[in-house]
């Protein structure tokens, strides 16, 4: 998978976000900001997704959903936490139903701060995620090659 970074697939899940970041994530994919020019496709299917964008904090009810989505994504995968709530829990950190940021549940690679995160910074985060994704798939390929040689 030499050039996998040219077409990563994106999965967006709204944790307990206030909608602000969700709308900005969507705005990123529309003509003015157009993250699709980096070859990104927004998919609704976790089984085909490479990059998971999480907006909003984690609460008791969506915790298993996020865990399941993360488990369903094929390896290698990259997780981006978009917005202050997904990074730390933000203004809702003290609420009784909020466990904290996305990293309380799944490993997060890239944090995009902001309330609401601006499209520019979301795109920046996505590009960082794409590079990391390329690196990880190269490592993954090298590992598979090594295993194959060992077997063969």
């Amino acid at each position: 998978m030499a050039k996998v970074k040219e077409s990563p697939w994106l999965l967006h899940y709204d944790g307990s976000s206030c909608n602000g970041c969700d709308i900005e994530v969507l705005a990123c994919l529309t003509p003015v900001y157009d993250a699709e020019r980096f070859g990104i496709v927004n998919t609704g299917d976790p089984l085909q997704a490479d990059i998971l964008l999480i907006t909003g904090g984690i609460n008791t009810q969506n915790k298993p959903v996020v865990e399941q989505l993360y488990a369903q994504m094929p390896r290698p995968k990259v997780v981006v936490a978009v917005g202050t709530c997904a990074c730390t829990g933000g203004i809702f950190k003290e609420c009784y139903n909020i466990l904290g940021g996305a990293d309380t549940t799944i490993p997060v690679d890239i944090y995009v701060p902001g309330c609401a995160a601006r499209p520019q910074s979301i795109i920046d985060g996505i590009i960082k995620a794409v590079d990391l994704f390329q690196k990880r798939s190269d490592e993954h390929d090298a590992l598979m090659d090594k295993q194959k040689r060992k077997e063969g």
Partner: protein, 360 residues
């Protein structure tokens, strides 16, 4: 062959909606006979934060109830606290709030139009709506500094001013939006493929709407004649407008009402900026609120109720936000009954659901 009944779960993560909502749909062959919503995926419990934050800090929490109608949440909360404390907000601040309100209504309705177009598979129309929407967001950014969450409200007035050059920019932007929206309106209202997906789908009568307690454009599209802006909060008492209603009650009428409301908002912005009075932006507020008040404001999705109860302390006793989608959900369940399974995503979109408002 006997009809087969089954229960199909819908959501929480669904490609049509960016937000999680879960519905248990009881279907008989392809027809839905009952829909039971279950919510709570975004429940944060922000109303309980009143115990930890004082009434001035709560403005920022109230604004983050929902990122789309963020400004109006802040305004509704501020107006109810101001009413309890007997604060007379400067007239200029009331006008500025009205301008920002209408700007967020335009962006919310354009957002909804785009999502609806995406819902029936008209992707280029979706992109057109969102492209127009960016113009108004640029204006929100120019005047407040934030694109969605503006945080310009405070108890006693507003923080920022709309200066003369900004006013010119806004007037120019709404002119462009009006022009571009006319083109989009033609597509929505004259295209046979749009018509075939929306006409006659999900009909609610006026009686049903009133019985189910629906609000906002969803209720007005069925002929219910109420719009909280007529109550005259903000500067609406000085502006000239009539609620837009349609007697039809199907998805097509809901689309029509919302498009016309965008034009109405453009008109209201022009009126408000045209007679914008000079004066202070805010008045100093001293002391703590003591009392209670129900404030009702008209949000893009309908009527929102803010109940504030205070007893002379820094922290409020209770803040209750009854959001429009919370009132519209029973209406949604009613429209889903008898609908085709394929229309479900579209029907959910027609109430303009805002789940993070609903669950708070």
């Amino acid at each position: 062959m006997a009809k087969k009944r089954s229960v199909i779960p819908f959501g929480p993560q669904h490609p049509v909606l960016p937000e999680p909502i879960h519905l248990d749909l009881m279907v008989e062959d392809e027809k839905v006979i009952k829909a039971i919503p279950s919510i709570g995926f975004i429940h944060r419990g922000l109303e309980s934060l009143v115990r930890k934050k004082d009434y001035n800090e709560m403005v920022y929490v109230a604004e983050r109830t929902c990122g789309i109608c963020s400004f109006m949440h802040g305004m509704g909360y501020c107006e109810s606290v101001e009413h309890i404390m007997g604060v007379e907000v400067p007239v200029r601040a009331r006008y500025l709030r009205t301008v920002w309100c209408e700007m967020s209504r335009i962006h919310s309705h354009l957002l909804w139009l785009g999502l609806l177009a995406d819902g029936f598979g008209f992707e280029s129309l979706f992109y057109q709506c969102w492209r127009i929407r960016e113009r108004i967001l640029d204006m929100v950014e120019l005047t407040t500094g934030g694109r969605l969450i503006s945080s310009v409200n405070k108890v006693g007035g507003v923080i920022r001013d709309i200066e003369p050059d900004m006013q010119t920019a806004i007037l120019h932007a709404v002119k462009e939006i009006e022009k571009e929206l006319r083109v989009v309106q033609k597509t929505f209202m004259n295209d046979y493929s749009v018509e075939s997906r929306l006409k006659g789908v999900g009909v609610l009568t006026k009686k049903e709407v009133l019985e189910l307690g629906c609000t906002g454009p969803f209720a007005r599209a069925s002929g219910a004649n109420f719009d909280m802006r007529v109550r005259g909060y903000g500067a609406y008492a000085d502006l000239d407008f009539d609620p837009i209603i349609s007697p039809v009650g199907d998805s097509y009428a809901r689309c029509d009402v919302r498009i016309q409301e965008i034009f109405q908002s453009i008109d209201l912005i022009r009126q408000a900026l045209g007679q914008l009075p000079d004066g202070d932006l805010s008045v100093p507020v001293k002391g703590n609120p003591d009392g209670e008040y129900f404030m009702r404001v008209e949000q893009p999705r309908g009527e929102a109720v803010y109940y504030v109860r205070a007893s002379g302390k820094k922290n409020l006793d209770r803040l209750r936000i009854r959001t429009p989608t919370f009132a519209n959900l029973p209406g949604l369940c009613k429209t889903l009954e008898g609908a085709d399974y394929a229309d479900i995503p579209l029907l959910i979109l027609t109430i303009d659901p805002c789940i993070s408002c609903t669950e708070r």
